[in-house]
Amino acid sequence: MTSLPPFVLFFIGAIAVGFTKGLPRKVLVLAIPLLGGLNLWFNVDPGVHMQFQFLGEYRLTPFRADKLSLLFGYLFHLAAFLGFLYALHLGDGDVDGSVAEDDPSGGDKAGLQHVSAMLYAGSALGAVFAGDFITLFVFWELLAVTSVFLIWARGSERSYATGFRYLIIHVVSGVLLLSGALMIAHRTGSIEFGHVGLEGSGLAGWILLIAFGIKAGFPLAHNWITDAYPESTPTGTVFLSAFTTKVAVYALARSYVGEDVLIYIGTAMTFFPIFYAVLENDLRRVLGYSMINQIGFMVAGIGIGTALAVNGAVAHAFADVIFKGLLFMSMGAVLTMTGRTKGTDLGGLYKTMPFTATLCVVGAMAISAFPLFSAFVTKSMIMVAAIEEHHYIVWLFMLFASAGVLEHAGIKIPFFSFFAHDSGIRAKEPPKNMLLAMSIGAVLCVLIGTFPSQFYTLLPMEMDYRPYDTTHVLVQLQLLCFGALGFIALMKTGVYPDEKRAVHIDAEVLYRKVGPWLVRSVGGTVARIDTYVRASVLEFVASVLHVTSKAHGPIGPLARSWPTGSMVLWVAILLVGYLLFYL
């Protein structure tokens, strides 16, 4: 089993899942990530485990493992296991205690969702263990094609449109990846998926960076995240949040370590989404913006490029899958049980969903980087690396963004859904499998934060870093505590903006509104000119026909048939004329 790439088990498993129902299917979806994960942990060592000759001079490498890919491999198995555990109730019929008016879970498409998620997880594993760009491209596209069904499974008109936008954006990213890879292969003669960088790689390096950047949610290309995540099913979003963006972070860590431009792109990503997150009403969209913010820290870490920074980036990716997954799970539980995820509709749910509320608070504390929680030991590596490399302004932005994380994910998400004003909704706790998945996620958030040294041994680079010292704990608690005091002051003074039933336009307006408007208005003008030119030409042709028909038509003088008598008369006249002339 060790020589087989990890995706194979998931792809074969997906076929088996497609043909089973009930208990056998439940066992399968849990057993596949569990067995695959154990195999990876115990049996797979770093090295190239599978390679073929391809088109003569190139080598395809579907299975290459090193510490970086293994870390993401463990993570994706874990994420798949938690995701399937969370989605285990799908297909069991109505959820007990739900007050949702229509089923947001896509429960009637449980088989489709499970197969799609299994293929999606397999594609993510295929991508991180790919040793060449062609294999990476195949899985890059498969990530999009397999996961779009998790959005469509929601079954709403809006989710269909979102799914198509999602698919188009990711296919464009794949095409760019292939273009960049082919250019690199042409120049270097190798398709190996390794360091590319921007220096010396010319246009190919930039094209590849944009391809990775689209999937990572770089500014202006970030809206697929905030578009797709809120429109997917409650369980589908948990899978979506785990794989695609993290594959992109992995690809950046593989090919663009130490590129300065990433520091600034990453910092921008930590900064701008937090303003949208303050304003946004849909709490799963808030988490979408939060996702971009967190990826910003990772991208900046990769850009800083030191061992500590890169370790920080990948460690934070690992922690993010778990705490963001936990937050998406808690909001998914709210959506499943109430049919709502908007701040304006929710509030007071702690009275009937105390366990979900508690687990959500754990996720909120983890993402906010409270001491003893995961982000405290992961994000701080990136922040310290920024100081070590003298990126002082970048550090100030990141510190501001850290306070922003506390605002939107640490306080807003749990506060507006479970506390705040009582909405009167009396939904029960979600199914036990959902609670169990959330509980495991919560325990992992605490374990990583409490025992970081064990976790650090999995990281790809050698480093010497101790997250727990008195000053770090003290200043972090000060930042968080006084940030929260700022929130209390904002609420008490009425300055904090109310949640509003509205959307706030973002870069997506370019392709969702301006683009169609341009097509309509330019197209309309072209159509009007076309109509005018056609009409003018037709009018001209008609007038020519009219004149010709007047002269040559049935009654036209040039087409009239003359009587024989007049012909004889004219011949006689000509002859007389001729005679007179002759005489």
């Binding site: 303003f275 009275k351 010292d469 000053t471």
Partner: protein, 92 residues
């Protein structure tokens, strides 16, 4: 079982509890400032701008206000109706 007529009273519904919660918070904030006076800051990686006493406390508090005070005018500029992308409020 939607919107049961009898509403349970939660601990957040009791103003006294909320007031006490805030008080605990204020005390905690005070203790954290006190801790900085007593323990000082001795970090392996000092930042040149973090020098002044209470920097992190002020930065945390100010960040929240800056965030919200900038987000509010942003909202005025960016807000649209919920169905904006489905054809509503086309002219905005």
């Amino acid at each position: 079982m939607r919107h049961e007529p009898k509403q349970p009273i939660g601990w957040m519904d009791k103003p006294k509890f909320v007031k006490r919660l805030f008080q605990v918070f204020y005390v905690l904030a005070g203790l954290l400032v006190l801790a900085e006076i007593v323990l000082g800051r001795t970090t392996e990686h000092p930042h040149p701008y973090e020098g002044p006493f209470g920097f992190y406390a002020v930065y945390g508090f100010a960040s929240f206000w800056f965030l919200v005070l900038l987000a509010k005018p942003m909202r005025k500029l960016l807000i649209r109706s919920e169905d904006y992308y489905e054809g509503g409020q086309d002219d905005d």
